[in-house]
C-alpha cells in the first residue's frame, strides 16, 4: 500500500515538474553562439551543426558565421550526429531526442521523458534507419526506423560480476526493487563509437567495451583505470586511443588489448579526440586544455588556451579546428 502511495506521489511530482511554466521552444538569443556548446558535427564538409545549453542549435556553412536554428526545446542538448547531408539527430537531458530531415534547418522532437531524470550523452546513427542513443546510468535506446520508435535496452553484461549476482538475487526477491536498481546500477555511457564493423562504448568507472553487432551484445575490456572515459577513437595508423578524467590517455596498438598510459602534462578532464592529417591528433579538455600529438598519440604537447575555458568537442573544417566550448564557438588555427 505504501509502495503504491509512493508511486502515485512520484507520478504527481514528476508530472508537476513536467508542467514547468516555461515556454518550450528555445529562445533565439544574440549570445547563443557564445553560450556553452557541448557538441559539434561536420556534415560532409558542407555545413557545421553545434548544440548546447537551453536547446541551442547553431548552424554554419563557413565556420565563422553562425545562425541559431529554431529548436523545439530549451533542454540542454549534449550530442549531435548526421548520417548524410539531410538527416541528423540531437540528444540531451530529459531523455530528449530531436530529428532533422532538412540538413539541420528545422528540428522535431522524436522522444522525450523528463520523468526519467536522466540525460542522453551521446548519439550515433549508422544509416538513416539504425541508431543508438546512450546516456547516464546505462541509458541505452535503439531505433531501427529512423527514430520513429525507440526501444530501451539494459546491457547488464557491462556490469562487473558482483553487481550481476546482486541483481539476480534482487530480481528473485523483489521485482520492483530490481527494476528501480536496474535503472541506476549501470555506469554512465559517455560515448558510442563505431569503427567499421566494431562498436566501442566508453564511460564511467573505467568502462571500455566492444561489440561486433552494433551494440546488441557487449564485451567488457580489461580494466585499466577506475575513472571515467569520455572518448575513444581509432587513429589513422589504426591504433585505439581513449581519453578521460584527470588527464588520462590510454593507447592500444593491439586492438583494445594492452592499453598503455600516455603521460601528459595536465590533470584536466579530457572531452574529445580530434583526428587531423597524417599522424596528428588533438585532445580537447577542460580548463582550456588543447593537446597535440604528431606521432599518432604516443606523445602530446600541451597548448592551454588563454581563457582557460573548457573545450568540449571539435571538428576539422576548412583546415581549421572548430570547437564547441564553454564560451561558444571557437576557431583555432592549426598546422599539420
Amino acid at each position: 500500500m505504501i509502495k503504491i502511495f509512493l508511486l502515485v506521489v512520484s507520478i504527481i511530482i514528476s508530472q508537476g515538474s513536467y508542467a514547468a511554466p516555461l515556454s518550450t521552444e528555445a529562445i533565439i538569443s544574440p549570445l547563443a553562439k557564445d553560450s556553452l556548446l557541448l557538441d559539434i558535427e561536420n556534415v560532409n564538409e558542407q555545413f557545421l551543426i553545434a548544440v548546447g545549453v537551453r536547446g541551442h542549435i547553431l548552424r554554419s556553412t563557413d565556420g565563422e558565421n553562425w545562425q541559431q536554428m529554431p529548436s523545439p526545446t530549451q533542454t540542454t542538448l549534449t550530442s549531435v550526429t548526421f548520417v548524410n547531408g539531410r538527416h541528423g539527430w540531437a540528444v540531451g537531458h530529459d531523455a530528449i531526442i530531436l530529428h532533422s530531415q532538412d540538413a539541420g534547418l528545422t528540428w522535431q522532437i522524436q522522444h522525450e521523458n523528463p520523468q526519467l531524470e536522466v540525460p542522453f550523452l551521446h548519439v550515433h546513427f549508422k544509416d538513416e534507419k539504425s541508431g543508438v542513443a546512450v546516456g547516464s546510468y546505462g541509458l541505452f535506446y535503439r531505433t531501427i526506423d529512423g527514430g520513429k520508435t525507440w526501444q530501451q535496452e539494459f546491457h547488464l553484461s557491462l556490469l562487473i560480476e558482483e553487481d550481476i549476482e546482486y541483481l539476480d538475487e534482487l530480481k528473485r526477491e523483489d521485482e520492483a526493487a530490481y527494476l528501480s536498481e536496474r535503472s541506476r546500477i549501470l555506469p554512465h555511457f559517455n560515448r558510442f563509437y563505431q569503427d567499421g564493423r566494431t562498436a566501442y562504448l566508453v564511460g564511467e568507472l573505467g568502462l571500455i567495451a566492444k561489440s561486433n553487432n552494433f551494440g546488441e551484445n557487449w564485451e567488457r575490456m580489461e580494466d585499466v583505470y577506475h575513472g571515467s572515459f569520455y572518448d575513444i577513437n581509432r587513429t589513422q595508423k589504426g591504433n585505439l586511443l581513449t581519453v578521460g578524467l584527470r588527464g588520462n590517455v590510454f593507447r592500444s596498438i593491439s586492438n583494445g588489448n594492452n592499453w598503455e598510459n600516455t603521460p601528459i602534462e595536465t590533470t584536466a578532464l579530457l572531452n574529445n579526440i580530434v583526428l587531423y592529417q597524417g599522424d596528428v591528433v588533438f585532445l580537447l579538455g577542460n580548463n582550456g586544455v588543447l593537446l597535440k600529438s604528431v606521432d599518432d598519440g604516443l606523445t602530446f604537447t600541451l597548448d592551454t588556451q588563454a581563457d582557460g575555458k573548457a573545450l568540449l568537442a571539435g571538428v576539422i573544417f576548412k583546415e581549421k579546428l572548430i570547437v564547441a566550448s564553454e564560451v561558444g564557438i571557437k576557431v583555432i588555427q592549426v598546422t599539420p
Binding site: S17, A20, P119
Partner: protein
C-alpha cells in the same frame, strides 16, 4: 496707502528708532550662531543620497540585511612588476585583508579575499571531490606554497572576481553596515574613507605594490576632500566680489558693510544648520556660496539706493531709512521667491536634495534679516561723505547731470516696439531651438566612473583599473527574487531565475551575471566529474540540495531560508542610457516570468540605486518646475497685482530655463541629483532681476509714463545695481569651475549661465514684452 506699506512704515519707525538695540540683538545672535557654526560637521550618509520611498529602494531596504546592499568597498592590491605570486605581495594582501576586517562598521562575515576561509576551491578526483581553502591554513609564502595557491586559484574559479584576469592584482571586498556596531550610531562614512586612505593605502602602497580603493564610502571621502577646496574658492569669490562692490560704490565702508552682512548670513545659516542637527554634506557645501552671493547682490541694491540719496545730499540715516522703505517690498519679494524656489526642492524624495533645500532656504531667509534690516541700520551710523559718492562711475555721474549715458539709451531701445519685435523674434527662435534640444536632455549620469569626481581623479582611475582588470565591476544591479521558503531545491524556481538571467545576459550593456542557479549548475557538473554536459539545473531536488550544501548564504546568493535570492547583473557602465535599457528589458522579462511562485523585484546594488534615483529625478522634474513657477507667479502677482507684470517677469525666466537645459545637452551634463536643484535655484534667483526692474517700471507706468520712459527710469534707478548683481552672483559660482569635483563644475557652469542670462533677459526680453503689453500713453 496700501496696508502693506503701512506695515513697512511701521517697521521702519520701529527699527530705526531702536537702532542700537537691533545691532546688539544681531551681535548676540551672531556670537551664538558663530559658535554653533564652528561645531558643524561634514556629514554624508549613504541613505541620504537615495530616494528611500522609491519602489526599488523599498526592495533594497527590505533585503539589505541579507545581501549587504549597495554600500561596499573594493580594494584591489596590485603588483606593478609582474604577477601576484611573491612573498611581498601576499604579505601586503594579508595586511590589507586584516586591516579592513578590523575597521569598525565593516560587515566581518562578508570580507572576501584569497585569505577568507569562504574562498574555497573544489577539484574533481576519481572518487569524488577534493577541496579546501584557496590559501591553506599552513600557507607559507615560499615557492612551494605559492605554487599550491596558484593551482588552487585556478581550480576555485575566482579569476576575474578576486584575482585579476592577468594575475597582476588581487581583491579584498567588504560590505559596510549602516550603523556603527559599537556605538549604534549612523556609520561615519567619511571616517571610514579616511581609515581606508590612511591605514590601508598609505601603509601598503609601497615597494611596487599599489592599492586601489573604490566603493561609495571612499568616493564620499574623496568628494569631501575635494569639497575642502571650496574654502579657497570661497575666499577668492569674496575677494573678487569685494573689488566689484568697491568699484561700484567707491566707498570702503559701503563695500565692507554689504560683504560683512552677507558673511553674517552665511555664519547664521551654518550655525542654524548645526543647531538643528544637520551636518554639511559635500553635495550641499555650495549653499554658503549662494547665500553669500545672493546676500551681496541684495546688499548692492541697498547701497545703490542709499548712495544715490546721499549724493542728493541726504544724511546717511535718512538715506538708509529711505532705502529700507523702497527696497523692503521688491527685496523682500525677491528673497521670498528665492526661498520658495528652494523650498520646492523639498518635494523631491531624496534626502540630500531636501537638505540642500533646507540649507538654502534658511540662508536666503536670513538674508532678509541681515541685508534688508541690519545693513541699512549699520549704514545709518556711518557718515558717508557725499563727495566720495559724487565721483562714482560714469553712469552715476550721468545720473547726477541728468544725462542718460549711451548704454541706457541703447538699452532703452529694447522697449521701443520695432526693436522689441526683433528681440522677441530672436528670443522666440532661441526658445524654439532650446525647447527642441532640451528634449534630448538625459536623466542620470552620462559618464563612466564616479560622476562627482573628474575622470582623472585617483578614484576614477582606480575604478577604471578595477573594471579593466577584473570581470566584475561596481556597476551592478541585483534583481531580487522573492519566493517561498526552501525554494532553492525547487527546480521550477531555479529554472525561472535561470531564464531571467539568460534573457538579461543577452541585453547590450550587461557584461555578465551571476545567481544561485548559475552557481548550482556549475556545482552540479562538479558532482559529475566536472563534465560540462551536466552543467544543468538538476530536475532532482535531492541533487539540488546536495549542490546547495556547497553554497553558504555568505555568498550573497541566497538568504537563510532560501526564500529570497538575487540575480546579480554586472553592467558595462552606469550611463543613463545603459541603465534605462537594462531596466526596461528587466521589466519586460519580469512581466513575462513572474508567476505564483516567483516574484522578481527591482532592484538593489549601485545600479538599482541609480535607476531609482534617475526615476525619482525624472518624476520630480515636472512637478518641481510647476511648483517653482507657481510660486514665482503667485509672488509676482501679489507684489504687482498685474497679469502683464507677471507675464513680463515669468516669460524671460522660462526662456532662460529652457536654454539652460539646451546648454546641458550641449555640454553632456545629465539631469541628476546635483543638477536638478540648479534649475530651481536658477529660477528662484533669476526672478530677482525682473522684480527689481519691474518694481520701478510699474511705479512709473501708474504715474503715467509710457513704457520707454518707465524703463529708462528703471535703468537709471537700478540698472547698474542689476548688472553688478548679475556679475557678482556669476563670479561667486564661477569659481566652482576649478573645483576638484565634477558636479560642482557642472553646477557652477549652469548657475553662472542662469545668473548671467537671466540678467540679460531681464534687461532685454522683459522690456520688449512690456512694450507690447502696456499701451502707448502720451
Amino acid at each position: 496707502m496700501r496696508p502693506i506699506e503701512n506695515v513697512i512704515n511701521r517697521l521702519e519707525l520701529t527699527i530705526f528708532r531702536h537702532r542700537v538695540f537691533v545691532i546688539i540683538l544681531f551681535l548676540l545672535m551672531s556670537v551664538f550662531l558663530g559658535y554653533q557654526a564652528t561645531q558643524i560637521k561634514l556629514d554624508a550618509a549613504f541613505t541620504k543620497n537615495i530616494p528611500l520611498n522609491h519602489e526599488y529602494m523599498q526592495t533594497y531596504l527590505k533585503h539589505r540585511a541579507d545581501f549587504g546592499g549597495a554600500n561596499n568597498v573594493l580594494i584591489s592590491v596590485c603588483n606593478q612588476e609582474g604577477d601576484i605570486f611573491n612573498e611581498n605581495f601576499f604579505t601586503s594582501l594579508k595586511g590589507v585583508h586584516d586591516k579592513l576586517f578590523f575597521i569598525p562598521g565593516v560587515e566581518r562575515t562578508q570580507v572576501n579575499s584569497l585569505f577568507s576561509p569562504s574562498t574555497r576551491f573544489i577539484e574533481v578526483v576519481e572518487d569524488g571531490f577534493a577541496g579546501g581553502p584557496v590559501v591553506p591554513a599552513d600557507f607559507v609564502a615560499d615557492e612551494a606554497g605559492l605554487a599550491i595557491v596558484k593551482g588552487n586559484i585556478e581550480k576555485a574559479g575566482v579569476v576575474g572576481r578576486i584575482v585579476a584576469d592577468n594575475y597582476s592584482c588581487a581583491m579584498v571586498k567588504a560590505v559596510l553596515m549602516e550603523n556603527d556596531p559599537e556605538t549604534g550610531e549612523k556609520l561615519d562614512v567619511i571616517e571610514i574613507a579616511s581609515k581606508l586612505e590612511n591605514d590601508i593605502r598609505q601603509e601598503y602602497e609601497k615597494d611596487g605594490i599599489t592599492v586601489h580603493i573604490i566603493g561609495f564610502s571612499k568616493m564620499v571621502g574623496d568628494v569631501a576632500n575635494g569639497a575642502k577646496g571650496v574654502v579657497t574658492f570661497f575666499l577668492i569669490a569674496i575677494a573678487i566680489t569685494t573689488v566689484m562692490v568697491y568699484l561700484f560704490s567707491k566707498s570702503i565702508a559701503l563695500t565692507i558693510l554689504p560683504i560683512a552682512c552677507s558673511l553674517i548670513a552665511v555664519i547664521w545659516q551654518l550655525g542654524l544648520l548645526s543647531t538643528m542637527g544637520f551636518g554639511l554634506d559635500p553635495m550641499s557645501i555650495l549653499v554658503p556660496f549662494l547665500v553669500f552671493a545672493i546676500g551681496v547682490s541684495h546688499g548692492v541694491q541697498m547701497i545703490n539706493s542709499i548712495g544715490k540719496k546721499v549724493a542728493l545730499g541726504l544724511k546717511s540715516k535718512q538715506a538708509a531709512e529711505y532705502a529700507f522703505r523702497v527696497l523692503a517690498i521688491p527685496g523682500g519679494i525677491a528673497l521670498l521667491s528665492d526661498t520658495v524656489g528652494f523650498i520646492t526642492l523639498l518635494s523631491i524624495d531624496i534626502g540630500i536634495i531636501r537638505e540642500l533645500a533646507i540649507a538654502a532656504s534658511l540662508g536666503v531667509g536670513i538674508i532678509i534679516l541681515t541685508n534688508l534690516i541690519l545693513l541699512p541700520v549699520l549704514v545709518s551710523f556711518i557718515n558717508i561723505k557725499a563727495e566720495k559718492v559724487k565721483t562714482p562711475s560714469k553712469a552715476q555721474a550721468a545720473y547726477q547731470t541728468n544725462q542718460e549715458p549711451a548704454l541706457w539709451r541703447f538699452m532703452q531701445s529694447f522697449s521701443e516696439r520695432n526693436v522689441a519685435a526683433v528681440v522677441l523674434v530672436v528670443a522666440a527662435i532661441l526658445f524654439g531651438l532650446g525647447f527642441h534640444y532640451s528634449k534630448q536632455l538625459k536623466i542620470g549620469e552620462l559618464h563612466a566612473g564616479a560622476p562627482s569626481l573628474h575622470e582623472h581623479s585617483r578614484y576614477n582611475q582606480d575604478t577604471f583599473l578595477i573594471t579593466d582588470r577584473y570581470a566584475i565591476s561596481v556597476d551592478y544591479m541585483s534583481v531580487i527574487v522573492e519566493t517561498t521558503a526552501n525554494a532553492c531545491t525547487n527546480p521550477d524556481v531555479l529554472k525561472t531565475m535561470d531564464s531571467f538571467q539568460w534573457k538579461m545576459e543577452n541585453i547590450a550593456g550587461v557584461q555578465s551575471a551571476v545567481s544561485l542557479p548559475s552557481v548550482m549548475k556549475i556545482i552540479n557538473s562538479g558532482y559529475y566529474e566536472g563534465n560540462l554536459k551536466w552543467r544543468i539545473i538538476s530536475p532532482n531536488q535531492y541533487a539540488l540540495a546536495q549542490a546547495l550544501s556547497n553554497i553558504p548564504s555568505s555568498t550573497g546568493l541566497l538568504n537563510n531560508d532560501c526564500s529570497v535570492m538575487p540575480v546579480i547583473l554586472f553592467l558595462q557602465d552606469h550611463k543613463a542610457e545603459t541603465i534605462n535599457r537594462v531596466v526596461d528589458a528587466a521589466k519586460i522579462a519580469i512581466a513575462e516570468l513572474n508567476n505564483d511562485l516567483v516574484t522578481f523585484k527591482l532592484a538593489s546594488g549601485p545600479i538599482g540605486v541609480m535607476a531609482a534615483t534617475n526615476e525619482a529625478v525624472e518624476q520630480a522634474q515636472t512637478p518641481m518646475m510647476i511648483y517653482v513657477y507657481g510660486a514665482v507667479i503667485i509672488l509676482c502677482w501679489l507684489s504687482f497685482k498685474s497679469i502683464k507684470a507677471v507675464v513680463s517677469v515669468v516669460v524671460p525666466l522660462f526662456i532662460v530655463s529652457t536654454l539652460a537645459q539646451w546648454l546641458m545637452t550641449v555640454l553632456d551634463i545629465g539631469l541628476t541629483v546635483s543638477t536638478l536643484p540648479v534649475i530651481a535655484l536658477g529660477v528662484g534667483i533669476g526672478v530677482d532681476y525682473g522684480i527689481y526692474i519691474l518694481s520701478t517700471m510699474t511705479q512709473r507706468l501708474s504715474a503715467g509714463d509710457n513704457v520707454q520712459q518707465a524703463y529708462l527710469a528703471a535703468l537709471k534707478e537700478r540698472g547698474i545695481a542689476v548688472l553688478i548683481t548679475g556679475v557678482t552672483l556669476a563670479i561667486g559660482v564661477s569659481t566652482w569651475f576649478f573645483s576638484d569635483l565634477k558636479f560642482q563644475v557642472d553646477m557652477g557652469i549652469l548657475l553662472t549661465f542662469m545668473f548671467l542670462v537671466n540678467m540679460l533677459a531681464a534687461v532685454t526680453i522683459l522690456p520688449a514684452i512690456a512694450a507690447f503689453l502696456w499701451k502707448k500713453q502720451k
